[in-house]
């Protein structure tokens, strides 16, 4: 193993079984095979499937791999193999240095014991000696923000406190390889920010593997991405490209069925709606709303959804300081949203008509129409301006101070 590669995964596979009875029996057989010095077969038996199929990757110190994929794609299974909790059925895994894993926070916590007692137990489970825990104890308590609750049984902790304490203990080890399984998804925003900061501290000295469904998080932390789908590596490499691959995958499996709801005897229908918009053009929708009682102050809200399932824009008369009234009987609303600067693609339209007095939906049409936008080809959901960068060599080895960079470069 070269000195900088900390994780090497070569053609690793793992099979699981669909039926419990067979699964348990295969467990007995595999154990017996190990006991006799053989190896489990690398062929699928009845009811088996590849949970992880022929995955290879390498990770060096300072790199962070984002592991993304839909539920059941094999992310946790791969992580568990990396952590040595389960054995691969084919291939080989090599890890250099101390391995830390946050597959679940607080797995060793006993609810009846106090936070203090649990810190020592959980710390030992993670491989820390009593001395090491002693020296880190106050840091752990401070980081976890449990304060006076440290001598209270863990069962009366809030979910957030439980998670904070778990993360604080688990990151007290100094790993060379750190495996993180969606643990950063919990906790409030402030605590998550703290977690990022802590991860950034060890960024240069360790290799990370981060499992997450949060693409923003992946984009923020990772230097490369592995997209898993049904156990196989669909994409390995650039973060942006990997996230796009994942979003495309997610979109294919997303339910995009339109829904319409009305309240208080409202009858509403779309009279007309643009189906294409030029770059910089506006979306025109005409909507008829028939109501029994008049509404003094009404609002309308239009949301366009990109093909990754995220809102591309959300435009609302109330936040823009305008409104209109509705008469009893039939009203025709003419909506104009624009000018639009969106990435080229197809967008789903959601429209809501609301009674401001009681925040009631008179009409709510979710993804009722789609519109094709002829916009820019680059960017994520919304239009992204082109970015141009040219490299200028200064001819010497000195890195100019940041604030003077433009004036000292020759």
């Amino acid at each position: 193993m070269s000195s900088d590669v900390l994780v090497r995964v070569e053609r690793v596979s793992k099979k699981f079984c669909r039926t419990l009875k067979r699964s348990l029996w295969y467990g007995v057989k595999d154990t017996a095979a190990d006991m006799l010095g053989g190896r489990s077969s690398d062929q699928l038996r009845t009811d088996e499937f590849w949970a992880v199929d022929n995955v290879s990757l390498e990770l060096a110190r300072g790199e962070c791999l984002g592991l993304i994929g839909r539920n059941g794609a094999g992310k946790t299974t791969l992580l568990k193999m990396l952590n040595g909790l389960i054995k691969p059925d084919t291939g080989r895994i090599e890890l250099a240095g101390r391995v830390g894993a946050l597959i679940s926070l607080g797995a060793g916590f006993n609810p009846i014991l106090t936070g203090r007692e649990n810190i020592y137990v959980n710390g030992s489970v993670l491989g820390l000696t009593k001395k090491e825990i002693d020296s880190k104890f106050s840091d752990i308590v401070e980081f976890a923000e449990v304060g006076d609750f440290i001598d209270t049984p863990v069962q009366s902790y809030s979910a957030g406190m439980h998670v904070r304490l778990g993360f604080a203990v688990a990151t007290a080890i100094k790993p060379d390889v750190l495996l993180l399984d969606e643990v950063l998804a919990v906790g409030d925003v402030a605590f998550r920010a703290k977690c990022y900061e802590r991860l950034a501290q060890i960024r240069n000295s360790a290799a990370f593997v981060l499992v997450s469904h949060d693409t923003d998080q992946i984009a923020r932390v990772c230097s490369k991405v592995l997209v898993l789908e049904r156990g196989t590596a669909l994409y390995l490499g650039d973060v942006g490209e990997g996230i796009r691959t994942y979003q495309e995958l997610a979109r294919q499996h997303m339910s995009m069925a339109p829904h319409e709801h009305t309240a208080g005897g409202t009858v509403a229908s779309i009279v007309s709606c643009d189906d294409t918009i030029a770059d910089g053009g506006a979306l025109n929708v005409s909507l008829s709303v028939k109501i029994n009682e008049g509404v003094e102050v009404a609002d309308v809200r239009v949301v366009l959804w990109g093909d990754d399932g995220l809102a591309a824009l959300d435009s609302y008369t109330r936040t823009q300081g305008s409104s209109f009234g509705l008469q009893p009987g039939c009203n025709v609303l003419k909506l104009v949203v624009g000018p639009l600067r969106l990435k080229r693609g197809s967008y789903a339209i959601s429209i809501a008509v609301l009674d401001r007095a009681n925040n009631r939906h008179l009409y709510w049409g979710d993804r009722i129409r789609t519109v094709d936008v002829d916009g820019a080809t680059a960017g994520a959901v919304s239009y992204t301006p082109p970015l141009v960068c040219t490299s200028i060599s200064s001819g010497n080895d000195h890195i100019p101070p940041a604030s003077l960079a433009s004036s000292t470069c020759e």
């Binding site: 190990d34 389960i86 090599e94 250099a96 009846i112 007692e117």
Partner: protein, 292 residues
């Protein structure tokens, strides 16, 4: 806290490799890991033991009463049946009530040890499927619990001896060695059954039934029968020399069988090592089958 490691350092000695091959193919490395993990799990085992003990007694009203009840409940009916003349039991070196009580305490330690490994592994499922730690720790912690319970029960033995104004025999220090051998035998059988027991509930269901049956056919609450079917069963039962020898070391009885005791103990230790190997090899497969 996470502290930055100071630059790249030599990690050559710390390379971990996972392959599908059986670890037995590299016997030297396997044995080295076996020993280093056992050694490395002492502190964790102690911590888990203390954790379980604290939690157990903190969430209990009667506390130690639960330690004393099982041997009392097992032996008192026999004392009653004998005194009522329903059953007849041969001569015992000390009054029967004390004899039965000591037997029941010895037996209960065997049963505790028998149940210990499977109970520990089942209780640690969440940890085993999520954290990589020396797997020996939960076994050791279970053994410590068996030992602790026995030490507490010794108070009962002392109480019984005092109540009957008995003096322990000169050989009574050997009693402790006997108890260790009995506990390890129970533990070994329990450990052999553990991989199967983690996968299938049948093992856990059958253990209490099997141990009650075993107690009745083993000379626990009665001395070794001198003739007939009872004598034959007792002579074939490997637990007989362990139980009777251990008890008679304490009570100065005549049923001490040194050779048989040593043979059974030797077999126990050999099988215990094999059971340990089985446990280590089985765990990754068990974790895979247990899921989350």
């Amino acid at each position: 806290m996470i502290e930055p490691n100071t630059g790249p350092r030599s990690v050559k000695s710390l390379v971990t490799v996972y392959t599908p091959e059986s670890p037995l193919r590299q016997p030297r490395q396997f044995v080295r890991e076996l020993i280093s993990d056992l050694w490395g799990s002492r502190e964790l085992a102690w911590r888990l033991f203390v954790r379980d003990l604290r939690a157990q007694y903190r969430a209990s009203l009667l506390g130690y009463v639960w330690v004393f009840l099982p041997p009392l409940v097992a032996s008192l009916p026999f004392v009653y049946l004998k005194s009522a003349g329903v059953i007849s039991i041969g001569d015992t070196p000390i009054p029967y009530a004390a004899y039965a009580m000591v037997g029941a305490i010895i037996w209960q330690t065997f049963v505790d040890a028998l149940n210990s490994p499977l109970r520990s592994v089942n209780a640690a499922r969440a940890m085993l499927t999520r954290i990589n730690f020396p797997r020996e720790a939960i076994l050791l912690s279970g053994l410590m619990q068996v030992g602790f319970t026995f030490v507490v029960r010794l108070a009962l033995v002392i109480g019984v001896f005092a109540a009957f104004a008995l003096k322990p025999a000169a050989t009574s220090p050997l009693f402790v060695i006997g108890m260790i051998s009995i506990a390890l035998t129970g533990f070994m059988i329990g450990l052999v059954l553990t991989p199967l027991g983690v996968l299938y509930g049948d093992v856990q269901h059958s253990l209490p039934i099997a141990s009650t049956f075993l107690m009745l056919i083993t000379p626990v609450l009665y001395p070794v029968p001198s003739s007939g079917l009872g004598a034959m069963v007792a002579s074939l039962n490997p637990l007989t020399p362990l139980i009777t020898t251990t008890r008679d070391w304490l009570t100065a009885g005549a049923a001490v069988q040194h050779i048989a005791f040593l043979v059974v103990s030797g077999v126990t230790v050999t099988l215990l090592i094999l059971a340990w190997v089985l446990y280590r090899l089985a765990l990754p497969h068990l974790v895979a089958r247990l899921g989350n």
